[in-house]
Amino acid sequence: MAAPADQPLLRVEGLGVAVRRRAGALPILDDVSFDLAADETLAIVGESGSGKSMLALAITRLLMPPENYAVSGRVEFQGTDLVALPAAAMREVRGRGMAVVFQEALNALNPVLTVGRQIEETVRRRDGGDAATARREAIRLLDEVGIPSPERRLGDYPHQLSGGMRQRVMIAIALACRPALVIADEPTTSLDVTIQSQVLALLRDVRRQNGMSMIFISHNLGAVAAIADRVAVLYAGHVMELATVDELFAAPRHPYTAALLAATPRVDRPEKLAAIGGAVPRFDELPPGCRFAPRCPRAMPACSAAVPTIRAPDGEPGRRVRCIAPLP
């Protein structure tokens, strides 16, 4: 079921997600589009409340309960549109084609089942096979994610492990699916800083060794710079800018990206940090037109007239920016 060479592994086109409420549907993600090639890492960056995690759940169709969400647009994975896929076929895609590394492994792992059981069930769900094979595979996976004396850890419960260990177990579960695409949703936010970089390095290595593609969701631009090939900047449910890591860090085109970069400490440019004034708008109080306009230093009346379309800035066909007056 491998995708033809000219086709990307994942193509998201005009994806929209709205929460159904008694008072009517509340749109969260709107017109989200991007491609992801095989063996590529795309970072989704944004502040909390930008809709990053919902994007991961929308792609994997893990928004629960499903009837509370209205999903529109296309999510084409290996040539199949996932949005319209029947539930049974979607289960085949999950746990085989794609897997998720959730944030806060303490909550994402079942507290009353052993680590071994949680990995083994993933292995057996994918490959079938007997308990002994699954157990050997679980030990191999724990070893691969760098857990010492893995056969002894199999009988442990999540609360008996450290935070870093738990996140490694979470990664092992994702690897057990042997997916073509792994989505890492803020995999390091709940960890100590020293552990963060270890887990980050682990993710980068296992991705490379297994030839997987990765969507790396984060609000940490430093981590993004270390791990991603391309970046999509998400703000209040809109993709504001899409570019390669190098392009984006060298010359941001969207004022929001620029503000985000200015607010991030960098080793190469030890200048003063500039916090972005104001806060991300609530989804039930979205401004008309460009969603960043109320906080944008370069805003003009035209910005609030209509939502800008996302387009390639002049002379850069590979990039996308959602701004009527992109930065030079």
């Binding site: 629960m64 999950r94 746990g95 792992l109 769900r125």
Partner: protein, 313 residues
């Protein structure tokens, strides 16, 4: 493991002693002279004094209490004032009937209530959920004796399938079971309502958890997600709430035994009430407390064994 069990048991002993002491003092500080109420207002001074001596009420409170504690440690709850038999012997004589009644009711409630609660939680805010919620509410609001009388009327009087008087001592196993069904179902339906409601609430608390999402992410079937992940976590608290509910279950068992004229602790305690047998009454109250404490001890230990998060050592 053994130390965990032993520690819990050690904690239960003072609770039992304290609850027995509460009964002892309650019976002595509350207004009303047992001797007077046994003999009636027309009794002579001498008769009342003699009765007070017989009950040991003429001795100083502390002496009475120490004697009571000493007897308690030898599992001696005194002798019935009516029959003269030891209270413990009378209790042990009818205990099997009450145990078989409550065990039947608990099994009935769990076997039917847990699946109903789980099904309701999965069909949240749809017809099966509304039906089971409404049913549970009615079950929890129904006086057990009213339910018992209704069942008696339908299945013993109008359609005589079961005996009106539940006499387990017919000598045959079939007779014993026939005598158990109606009272057991009465007690069981009310417990079922409680179990269904608690299981539904527990499931609704577990289903939005992130590890359920992880299980779905693995591509597991909905069956495997619900039974392999959600139920395991949801059913743990059921063990504890059943322990907490047990006091109400025992109270319901008393009236159920009365409705079906069935031997057991309930009939014994009502008999003691009507014949003003204070020794028996005090002893039975203590027995009821001990049963509740022991059941809570068992649920505590079971919970400790099935939930890996409880430190067993």
């Amino acid at each position: 493991m053994l130390r965990f069990v032993a520690k819990r048991m050690m904690l239960a002993v003072p609770t039992m002693l304290l609850s027995a002491s509460v009964v002892f003092f309650l019976a002595r500080i509350l207004p009303g002279d047992p001797a007077l109420s046994i003999l009636g207002d027309s009794a002579s001074e001498e008769a009342i004094a003699a009765m007070r001596t017989r009950l040991g009420l003429d001795q100083p409170m502390l002496v009475q209490y120490l004697g009571f504690l000493g007897d308690l440690l030898r599992l001696d709850l005194g002798n019935s004032m009516i029959s003269g038999h030891a209270v413990t012997a009378e209790v042990l004589g009818v205990l099997p009937y009450t145990i078989e009644l409550t065990v039947f009711a608990i099994a009935f409630g769990v076997v039917l209530g847990v699946p109903i609660g789980i099904a309701a939680s999965l069909a949240r805010n749809r017809l099966p959920d509304y039906l089971s919620r409404f049913g549970s509410l009615i079950g929890l609001s129904c006086p057990p004796f009213f339910l018992g009388i209704c069942l008696l009327l339908v299945f013993a009087i109008w359609v005589p399938l079961f005996p009106v008087i539940s006499a387990p001592d017919t000598g045959t196993l079939g007779g014993r079971i026939a005598a158990l069904i109606l009272p057991g179902v009465t007690l069981g339906i009310i417990f079922l309502a409680f179990v269904a409601r608690s299981s539904r609430a527990a499931m609704l608390e577990v289903l939005p958890e992130q590890y359920i999402r992880t299980a779905r992410m693995k591509g597991l079937s909905e069956r495997a997600v619900v039974f392999g992940h959600a139920c395991r976590n949801a059913l743990l608290p059921i063990v504890t709430v059943t322990g907490l509910y047990f006091g109400i279950l025992m109270g319901n068992a008393v009236v159920t035994e009365i409705v079906f004229t069935r031997p057991g602790l309930g009939k014994l305690i009502i008999g003691a009430l009507n014949s003003r047998d204070y020794v028996m009454l005090q002893g039975l109250t203590i027995v009821y407390c001990f049963i509740v404490v022991l059941v809570n001890l068992v649920t505590d230990i079971v919970y400790g064994l099935v939930d890996p998060r409880v430190k067993v050592r």
